[in-house]
Subunit: 340 residues, 2 copies
Amino acid sequence: MKAQIAIDMMGGDHGLPVTLAAAARFLNERPHVTTLLVGDETLLRAQLANYRLVEGERVVIVHAPEIVAMGESPAVALRTKKKSSMRVAIDCVRDGSAQAAVSAGNTGALMATAKFVLKMLPGIERPAICTALPNRKGHTHVLDLGANVECNADHLFQFAVMGSVLVEAYDDNPSPRVGLLNVGAEAIKGNDTVKAAAALLAEGPINYIGFVEGDDIYKGDVDVVVCDGFVGNVALKTSEGLAKMMTQFLREEFSRSLLSKLAAVIAMPVLKRLKKRLDPGRYNGASFLGLQGIVIKSHGGADVAAFTSALNVALREIEKDVPRRIDLRLGQLLNEKELA
Amino acid sequence: MKAQIAIDMMGGDHGLPVTLAAAARFLNERPHVTTLLVGDETLLRAQLANYRLVEGERVVIVHAPEIVAMGESPAVALRTKKKSSMRVAIDCVRDGSAQAAVSAGNTGALMATAKFVLKMLPGIERPAICTALPNRKGHTHVLDLGANVECNADHLFQFAVMGSVLVEAYDDNPSPRVGLLNVGAEAIKGNDTVKAAAALLAEGPINYIGFVEGDDIYKGDVDVVVCDGFVGNVALKTSEGLAKMMTQFLREEFSRSLLSKLAAVIAMPVLKRLKKRLDPGRYNGASFLGLQGIVIKSHGGADVAAFTSALNVALREIEKDVPRRIDLRLGQLLNEKELA
């Protein structure tokens, strides 16, 4: 199966040195993929050879003279930067020249642009941002991670269905376990919104297992954790902050004295395995769910390996036809509701 | 200065083996403290000698025949268990025989009972649960951690003031930096509630530094992080889950082969220091703020060292006269508002 991916080459904290190196690696690893490198064509042409890339069937340069800055207002970017690398990459998905767009740029602007250009799937009121996080046994998908700071029960219900369909397709998991994030597992716990969402999910369209708590994200007993974007964003960033602090403490303790430095040398293979296992880059690449097309957001600070992961997420969603599957499932549910 | 602390001896996952051992350790370390051991007097008397405790001026047994179960409904516990160890410990604070109560029991029941028996401070609409978490440079106090699953801007404002006063007193910090937890640092980010709370705090009663994100909890650049109880609880439990997973991965990697086991032996002193530094027990003891009295909640699963930490939190709040300070500061703010 052939796949075309449009890459916003100018987005993110590092720009071309990361995006070009990742594109080169990705093209090497995935011989059936075509990349559309979207950005300033002069800059791109000047740099291609440094990454052993040659323009041709699999490496297509698409010119975009503007760049959306990381701190720019999404509304302003959407209105004024119609030739930005981000916008043009998404345009490629709309016009069918690509099946997915990947960007490490400004999240808010990317989401606003994706909604505007690609439109929502019928029946979905809000898009959601979803990513996998490592757990003790594999990984857990969590959504929404920040697209919606206020959600009602219907939105949470839709997120749950979208997350379930994503994991079903993405992980070849026939019946993903879906939990609603709450402050306790008992039915009386939580605010009115999660209670109402729980009632909707209890009607059975997916494998809803009930309320879960923050620590359940990392236990491995739930496949999809659903929450509003405020809570999800706090959970994600709190995790990032704690992981960084723990890693720093580990480094500090291993460099405290000559003896501990020696211990570090001996423990190096173990520490390297640990680092690899916890590497957030492995899970880089958040899906914007609910759109009529595939858009993957890479972390702004992603390195080459992490940005390559985001490209692989896009490829997998193309292969698994994720938006169409979500559309089908939701269409079914809406029909059932109308018939009922 | 003399201090009397009422301890719910029957609460928590472990009961007497932990609470008695912790009381004994605490009494040894703190010669000016009196403990009121609240629980089944027959059981307590039978066990005292095992922990080298002798009834007397510093070890007073207060009989309480009932126990609130960990999963019991707070409303039911409050209505039907008037002789529970938890309730009687809080009664001791109300009648003045103790200056603080400490319990590892059911959080919801403890909060409901504390509110009912001790009453709120004037001007405080909701109590909040506050605890310290380690950060790169020291610790951060976070509130609310779960007392209130829905909060308005006034509640968040009051939490901010209470947290600021607590840290001022507790850490001898003349001007604690207080941040509002949000999904971004920019003023346009977040939901209406945090924006309205930010406007109230910008008027200047405390050292408000603006919005902070989840990872800021662990950076050490903010002393008090304020959020509603839903978000705070998710942040806390997500952190617990991630820390446990990382510790497990560390253990697994160090026991994978003979070679890594050898590395573990050599790295042992380093790993022990790391463990100590990250030990959540060091920070055990959450304050219920906003009450007319001091109530400290220990983690249900606390071990002896952790439960001793909770007793020390109670002692420090007594020494620093935390509830009266909060009352004074809020009285001032309310007066200023009326005059304005």
